[in-house]
Symmetry: C2
């Protein structure tokens, strides 16, 4: 039975929704796929539900093929498991919390690691039962500070989340690869080009973490890749540190006047003008050590001021520094922070002053000092002397100052060497479409998931986590597949296979359209049939283009000559075919 | 690809769960279909998900056949639409409320009338677009005071809810019948016997309301039915009132001493002993008028004491009196209530005393008085005289007292006449499996859903509401289909079509089982294959019986003779068939 537009619950809109920031949102609303119910919360209309169901079907088929079993957890969950893992607190404002009529605490689950772990703990007891991978396709909730971009970052959204359970690390690797392979097949079937990039593996103690990114200039994530095959998101990129340099015989540091040089540019200009290098080469920003003052807020709420020293030709990159100091929250130090540390002379901060160490392990200030991996022992730097309008020249790392740690806080630049030796990297942009992730034993340890191993001893299970945002993927596909007329769905997820349009006032056109519809349905095509009697062809064509079914068949004037038109929505190509030749034409 | 028990995510349990009150809950947990996550909140395991998906498929197919279109609303919704309808408040403690990080109020929707109404208001504007029926299958939330009986009354549960939209009452009737017919087909396909009973239609101003009840002695609802085809739940049963009797010439009421007669029994005994009827017939409880004092709490919080007069041979029935006084909440009057109304002489209350009317329209007490439909004008009663240890005899309704209204508050009894004249009713018990319901114009009026009618004037839309509890239905099917060994699913919703069991240590049995599995899958049967190598036949059979797939095929010793056994789970019948004859035998 075809879906007939005369009674289908579909209304296309002429105007873009006022609150839509991105093309996918605008088109999905205008073409009648979704409606906004609240910020970041959407109602699914019949067309949208059909596309969502198709994406879910692809995911389910590949999960089954990968040996994963489907379960379904509640969205409304009690506090206790999340309290045990620490996430009831660590999620902060990011989750929805509520109480039931008895005052018991609940949350709307943003993710289900705890529940999966406890379920397996409940039911399994031996290594013989493993490996196991289970998954769900389920609605999740996050109280985003700024829900935006339509379905791309919502507050109620559908995820496929899978978890694997193994006793050994080798088993975990195999489970991980099975999911990773399934993801490759899923994205291939959905027509989504992807790059697998190394990702930060967070705090869970796991080993491997990779993101599937769709490369696109409008992507919200930056990643790096080399011609030799390296790929990582910027958080996971690791700097190739130079070898340390022996500092025997290097001259002692010299403190020099540097009036009005609170920035790297002013400092380099002054250095070249007043203190030229003996060998005649120009000083550059790379010769300077820039010291950035940050405030860390630890999970327990304590606030600490730290300083990070990076080469002056680089910037602190927010995402990298957040990962470097996680789980602490990082922000730029405020005036209040500076007021508490009068030893930090703004614009002229450095790890050393004429009295000795000012920052870091050997200092008396107690302010921790972290350095970029490039600041290896023996490197010489121009940097602040912690005196107003004075810098120190020839300050040697490892001799004149010692850091409390090395952090990946500086930005990655085109041409930086890939850590695997595969050559210089370039920067690219992409959208995250999936994440595979070795959780390791964090949740199993925390929640007590142990099984008897081969030797009859209790072994803590190791887990993997594998996520795809179903509604996000749908929005990304819409974002990537449209033109100025509307959506252009890939066949694998289109709400219908064919959109048949009868035009004009001649009953013969409608009769021909009915025949085409019947032929198509006999061959199991899913058909949307525009049988509306009184609309102009222009309105019908505009709707067809907006809705974006990949193949459109038009029964109009040609019917008198025994032909209809097959219109390829993507290429725009229109071909005349005999009324009874549509199935053959679509099969190509 | 068959589902193999060697790696399926399924663990059956030997023990009943401690918190299970009903058989469906016990068996669904023990057989590995669901797990409890919190009170009234469940996790779905793979077997349970399969059954749920089959029920949903039947519902979807029948909704599509009935011309309904599927949508999907969020579970997390803002307060505003529910504030507009008044239900944000009137739900009381029955819903989950929460706030987002900005302090905005949200709820977890218990039902979606408001959202459906607003969606249609958003998209439709003309009578030409109607009728429309749209539905969703979606997870809903109710903060039940006492979640119980497993899935039968949960706090997170899946519902199919449909809504119809029409301009005219005739259109609404047609939409209603289309859904009602679809419900009949759904329950037939699910193998659920049903009775359609008239139900209370609540406060929505709609006309027709019917429940689908599955008749079963263990049902939680009572309904009445006549041999002539009448059926109603007790809330909706309407009393056949006798004709009024002329009271010309009836003697005046007489107040008589009636010491120690605070109950109907003591009163009737005393009346027969002390004040026998002139005609010699015995007084019975039916000759007395029992006055029950109730406290109504209105939606605005005000509390009112009222009195209801019913024949002394009947009781107040809680469900009926609740409906009679809805939306007020009804409870028995407390000592505090009596203290405020010293005119009510406990045990001897009546509408009249020697000074005149005590209760009702003509009284000076201001206490409203309601009567049972049987208390028609001209009927004579023995009732309290509002004096300690005194009753009045021969008090005539309509002459000596006038009520403020007639209410259906008394219980229904076997033998009461059906209101449609189809004979005496019997009482029966059932479980609610569906509800179809004419909402009328309440929500459309409240939320401003109007469309242009044929004359170009704005007309308020009339709506219908049609609900099936998907997870509840699943539990009811389990409740009705089990024996002392476990579940016995009807074929239409069984998690698999066939459960193939290989037994023994002989590889030939496993080879034969594989062949049977392959034959079955070639014919599109869904197969659960117990290929576990080291378990005893007894354990495997016990699991098969517990899980409840309707057809079981056993490959064991008989394989040496070329045969396997086909076991009908419901009848217990076992038949030997050739290894390659299983498909033919199942088609039987």
């Amino acid at each position: 039975m075809p879906t007939r537009l005369t009674n289908f619950f579909l209304r296309t809109l002429r105007e873009d929704p006022a609150d839509a920031e991105v093309q996918s949102h605008r088109l999905l609303v205008r073409a009648g796929y979704i409606r906004r119910a609240a910020p970041g919360i959407f109602t699914w209309l019949p067309l949208g539900l059909r596309v969502k169901a198709k994406i879910e079907r692809v995911i389910r088929e590949e999960m089954t093929a990968a040996g994963a079993h489907e379960v379904h957890f509640p969205a409304l969950l009690p506090r206790e498991p999340y309290e045990a893992s620490g996430r009831w607190t660590s999620y902060g404002d990011g989750i929805f919390r509520l109480q039931d009529r008895k005052g018991a605490d609940y949350l709307l689950a943003p993710t289900h690691e705890e529940m999966f772990t406890l379920l397996v703990k409940d039911l399994y007891s031996s290594y013989k039962e493993l490996p196991l991978t289970i998954y769900q396709i389920q609605d999740k909730y996050r109280d985003e500070a700024r829900p935006r971009a339509g379905l791309l970052r919502g507050r109620e959204f559908t995820m496929k989340d899978a978890y694997s359970f193994d006793v050994t690390d080798e088993g975990q690797d195999a489970s991980y690869m099975a999911q990773r392979d399934a993801y490759e097949r899923i994205f291939q079937r959905l027509g989504l080009e992807y790059v697998i990039v190394a990702a930060d593996n967070g705090l869970m103690g796991g080993a491997r973490s990779e993101e599937f990114l769709h490369p696109t200039p409008v992507g919200e994530d930056t990643f790096v890749r080399s011609a030799g095959g390296y790929a990582a998101n910027v958080e996971a990129f690791t700097t190739v540190a130079p070898d340390p340099i022996p500092f025997d015989g290097l001259p002692a540091p010299v403190v020099l006047d540097s009036p009005n040089t609170p920035t790297i540019t002013t400092l380099v200009d002054l250095a070249n003008a007043e203190y030229p290098r003996p060998d005649g080469r120009e000083w550059t920003a790379a010769d300077t050590l820039k010291n950035v003052v940050l405030a860390l807020t630890q999970v327990d709420g304590t606030r600490e001021v730290v300083v990070v020293g990076i080469p002056g030709d680089r910037e602190i990159e927010a995402k990298r520094v957040e990962v470097a100091f996680a789980p602490a929250e990082v922000e730029a130090a405020t005036e209040a922070d500076f007021a508490k540390h009068p030893g930090l002379v703004k614009g002229y901060i450095g790890p050393w002053s004429e009295g000795g160490a000012v920052l870091g392990a050997e200092s008396t200030t107690g302010i921790r000092y972290f350095i970029d991996p490039r600041v290896v022992d023996g490197t010489e730097w121009i940097t602040g002397a912690n005196l107003d309008e004075k810098h120190v020249f020839g300050l040697v790392a490892g001799r004149d100052f010692t850091a409390d740690g090395v952090v990946e806080a500086a930005n990655v630049r085109e041409g930086d060497p890939a850590p695997d030796g595969s050559g210089p990297v370039e920067l690219a942009r992409g959208m995250e479409i999936g994440h595979v992730f070795q959780l390791g034993r964090f949740f199993a340890e925390t929640l007590g998931l142990k099984v008897l191993d081969e030797n009859g001893k209790l072994a803590t299970v190791t887990m993997g986590s594998y996520g795809i945002g179903v509604t996000r993927i749908l929005a990304i596909i819409a974002e990537l597949n449209n033109d100025d007329k509307g959506l252009v769905w890939p066949a694998s997820v289109a709400p219908f296979d064919v959109h048949v349009v009868a035009t004009g006032k001649d009953q013969a056109a409608f009769d021909a359209a009915e025949r085409v519809v019947a032929d198509l349905e006999a061959e199991r095509y899913e058909v949307l049939y525009d049988d509306r009697p009184k609309l102009s062809p222009g309105v019908k064509f505009a709707d067809a283009e907006l809705i974006g079914v990949p193949k459109i068949v038009i029964a109009g004037r040609g019917v008198a000559d025994g032909v209809v038109e097959v219109w390829d929505r993507r290429t725009g190509e229109r071909t005349q075919v005999p009324i009874d030749g549509v199935v053959a034409a679509l099969r190509g």
